[in-house]
């Protein structure tokens, strides 16, 4: 039964609208900026009325940026590809390694398991530069410097602890009796893991994978230190619009719009899993 008065409904609507406006306005403004030239963006006072242009998107997609210093070659689409490739591959590798490990930590309590799990989590505590300088030397010695393979490996520092700890909580929440019943029916350990544990944990795995993807996508420092310009992700590439000869606000805005699209699409698609997976994995019954 609806117990809310009309006044409550109106107030609630106003409050929700205000919150949405507050949080969405920067995104909305960036979206508008992406269709403006630097000149209109920098008008005093700023105005919401302008003649839209696609030049910013055209510059990003064609790789040629006209600026006050003349024409500049930009690698934004290549950066976008690098981000997508590195993040996707890192998450796939992270899931392949992390999900069985999470199951082991969650279900098969063994001597030192907590210590090992905490050690893996501690990768997230260390300042990246502390790890990266020695890594640069090792990577050079073993030929992994400036390779996608090397970067995907290093990205495990971001994705693996995340996947492991989220999925582990989820495995722990699945009643062990279900698995025991399946085992008693004559199925092996591997089949139980594959047919029972994995499907039941799928929302949590999807949520962990999505979060890991977002964290990997937002990473900045690993590729910057360990790779050449041709392997830089969009987080580094976007800075190319801040040049000594001026800030290209329009291209930055268009770059932001393009770079949030993949994660936004993924998040919208997997929104249900994300909320369900995180809440179920986090609460112990």
């Amino acid at each position: 039964m609806d117990t809310q008065s009309t006044l409550e409904k109106v107030l609630r609507g106003i409050a929700i609208t205000a919150v949405i406006l507050f949080f969405m306005f920067p995104i909305f403004w960036i979206f508008l900026m992406s269709f403006q030239t630097n000149e209109t963006i920098l008008r005093v006072p700023p105005s919401i009325v302008f003649e839209p242009t696609l030049t910013n998107y055209k510059a990003l997609i064609t790789g040629r940026l006209e600026s006050t210093a003349g024409a500049l070659e930009i690698e934004f689409m290549s950066n976008l590809f690098n981000s997508a490739y590195l993040s996707t591959m890192a998450v796939i590798v992270g899931l392949i390694l992390g999900v069985p490990a999470a199951y082991a930590f969650g279900r098969l309590k063994f001597r030192g398991s907590e210590d090992i799990a905490f050690t893996l989590l501690s990768f997230r505590f260390a300042p990246p530069l502390l790890v990266l300088l020695p890594l640069t030397i090792y990577f050079q010695q073993i030929g992994l410097a400036n390779t996608y393979f090397g970067l995907i490996w290093v990205y495990q520092l971001i994705v693996l602890p995340l996947i492991l700890w989220i999925v582990r909580g989820y495995f722990e929440d699945i009643p062990a009796d279900i698995e025991y019943a399946y085992r008693i029916a004559g199925h092996g350990f591997w089949a139980t893991f594959r047919k029972i544990a994995l499907p039941l944990a799928m929302p949590g795995i999807a949520a962990a994978g999505l979060l890991a993807f977002i964290f990997a996508w937002n990473n900045f420092i690993f590729a910057l230190v360990l790779a050449s310009a041709d392997k830089q992700p969009v987080t580094v590439g976007a800075l190319a619009f801040v040049t000594a000869s001026g800030i290209q606000y329009g291209q930055i805005a268009a770059g932001i719009v393009l770079s949030i699209l993949p994660t936004l699409a993924l998040a919208l698609y997997a929104q249900r899993y994300l909320v369900e997976g995180l809440s179920l994995g986090a609460v112990k019954g």
């Binding site: 008008r43 005093v44 910057l224 590439g237 800075l239 801040v242």
Partner: protein, 480 residues
């Protein structure tokens, strides 16, 4: 190249044809002025190949560069084919955005990476890189006739700029001293002077200020004349880069220093003298009265963008920032340039400078070949090409500043720029004391300035506190 064009260019190179005749002649053959510049440089490169130096010694060798995303790097890349043709060498390069560039450089150098043979750097940064053993002393190459071509003409590089890239590694040691090591070689440099909006100045009947008092007054008058804008742009973020442009240039004009160096080489703070306090007070008042409302966040980018967008009437910052903002912005064509001596008793400006230079990585495994590239890119031919055809301003060589084509280009579109440069260049150099705590102490100086502008501390008290803190840190580091 076709024979007709080649003959015209060779005649020009031989001095039997004027530049105007060359451009006219090439124009009649359908060659644009910009292309003519590249062709002339190709001819200059051919001439360079004839100077008896074994340019092909490292043919087949590849060197790799780390470059900052900057018009200077664009000029280098645009002319690279001429170097490859001259030497038979190949050049690879990585270009990184300026915001992260020095992180990349520091990571590469400190890890002993052999990936990059040479890289762009600022002179201040070599105060860290040099003593750490990350870069080579380039005197060893410059002074070696077997490694350096006879037309390199090192003395042609402006003295203040050349010496600013050399330091003996002793805290407080004078830049460019006899025992200094040449940690880097200038590509081009920036002086700090006034860039003002001529449209605003003319409509408000303002005159170009000639000293710090006039600057404070003019900035206030300009603010009153601006519709929602402000009077003067200067940097204000909590960074060493807030101190080094306009502020230090004016400060040095009063004979003031950042640090004292005693006879026994000990350093102590020098920024709390009476003259310094007076200058600081005027600077702070100028920002409070006429600076950007969000001054404390302003870096190179905001200062330049605002003068280009017409939000500020003038700026006291790098001349090349004004140069860049005079094209492709709302105020393009309205910006003009003026030298600025803050001290009414000073004979001329004494701008502090920023230098973009090339250094050689000590970890490089192809040092001789790398030096071939470095002497070419810092040599007179490339400097002239960059200045004439690209945006390699301010070129570091006096011969380029004497070039008629370059001066005409500047005078045509950047009123007052050449005169400003000529008047300021003799006094232009790095005014900081070279020492390992440079970035820490100068950033603290900027933080103190923020407190003074915010009214959190009176100027004289703030400077006394700063000096005490600087002295303490110097002592702790064994420098004071």
């Amino acid at each position: 190249m076709y024979d007709k064009e080649k003959k015209l260019i060779d005649a020009y190179m031989a001095g039997s044809m004027s530049r105007r005749s060359l451009i006219r002649g090439l124009g009649s053959l359908g060659v644009t002025a910009a292309t003519a510049g590249v062709l002339v440089n190709a001819a200059a490169t051919r001439a360079l190949a004839q100077n008896g130096f074994d340019w092909k010694k490292h043919s087949g060798t590849t060197v790799k560069l780390l470059l900052n995303k900057h018009p200077y790097a664009d000029a280098l890349i645009a002319n690279l084919d001429n170097f490859k043709e001259l030497t038979g060498m190949d050049v690879e390069y990585d270009v990184f955005p300026e915001d992260v560039y020095f992180d990349k450089v520091t990571a590469a150098l400190s890890s002993g990476s052999t990936e990059y043979d040479a890289f762009m750097t600022g002179a201040y940064m070599t105060w860290t890189y040099g003593p750490a053993g990350w870069v080579d002393d380039l005197n060893e190459y410059i002074m070696d006739d077997s490694k350096t071509n006879p037309d390199y003409n090192w003395e042609d590089v402006l003295e203040g700029v050349r010496k600013s890239c050399a330091w003996n590694g002793r805290p407080g040691g004078a830049l460019g001293s006899d025992d200094a090591k040449q940690w880097c070689i200038p590509l081009a440099y920036e002086q700090n002077n006034l860039t003002y909006n001529k449209r605003v100045f003319d409509s408000a009947g303002l005159s170009v200020p000639g000293n710090i008092d006039e600057l404070v007054e003019t900035a206030a008058a300009a603010k009153a004349a601006m519709d929602g804008g402000y009077g003067i742009g200067v940097r204000g973020s909590r960074s060493w880069a807030t101190i080094h442009p306009g502020f230090l240039s004016g400060y040095a004009n009063f004979g003031q220093k950042d640090l004292n160096v005693s006879d026994d080489g000990k350093l102590s703070a020098a920024m709390n003298t009476d003259v310094s306090k007076d200058y600081h007070a005027k600077w702070v008042k100028m920002i409070q009265d006429s600076g950007a409302p969000d001054w404390s966040t302003h870096t190179w980018y905001q200062v330049g963008t605002d003068v280009g967008a017409g939000k500020s009437a003038m700026m006291f910052d790098a001349d090349i920032l004004g140069y860049f903002m005079n094209g492709g912005t709302a105020e393009a064509g309205n910006l003009a340039f003026a030298p600025f001596a803050a001290n009414p008793d000073a004979a001329a400006p004494t701008p502090n400078i920023w230098i973009w230079a090339m250094s050689m990585a000590s970890a490089s495994t192809k040092k001789d070949a790398t030096w071939y590239f470095m002497q070419w890119v810092t040599g007179p031919e490339h400097d002239l090409f960059g200045a004439r055809e690209m945006d390699l301003v301010n070129p570091a060589r006096s011969s380029v500043w004497a070039d008629e084509m370059f001066r005409d280009k500047l005078s045509k579109s950047y009123p007052g720029y050449v005169e400003m440069h000529d008047l300021s260049a003799p006094g232009a150099s790095i005014k900081f004391t070279a020492q390992p705590l440079f970035f820490d102490l100068t950033t603290e100086w900027a933080a103190s300035m923020q407190k003074m502008v915010a009214g959190e501390v009176p100027v004289d008290e703030g400077l006394d506190q700063l000096a005490a803190s600087v002295d303490s840190q110097l002592k702790d580091a064994g420098l004071g």
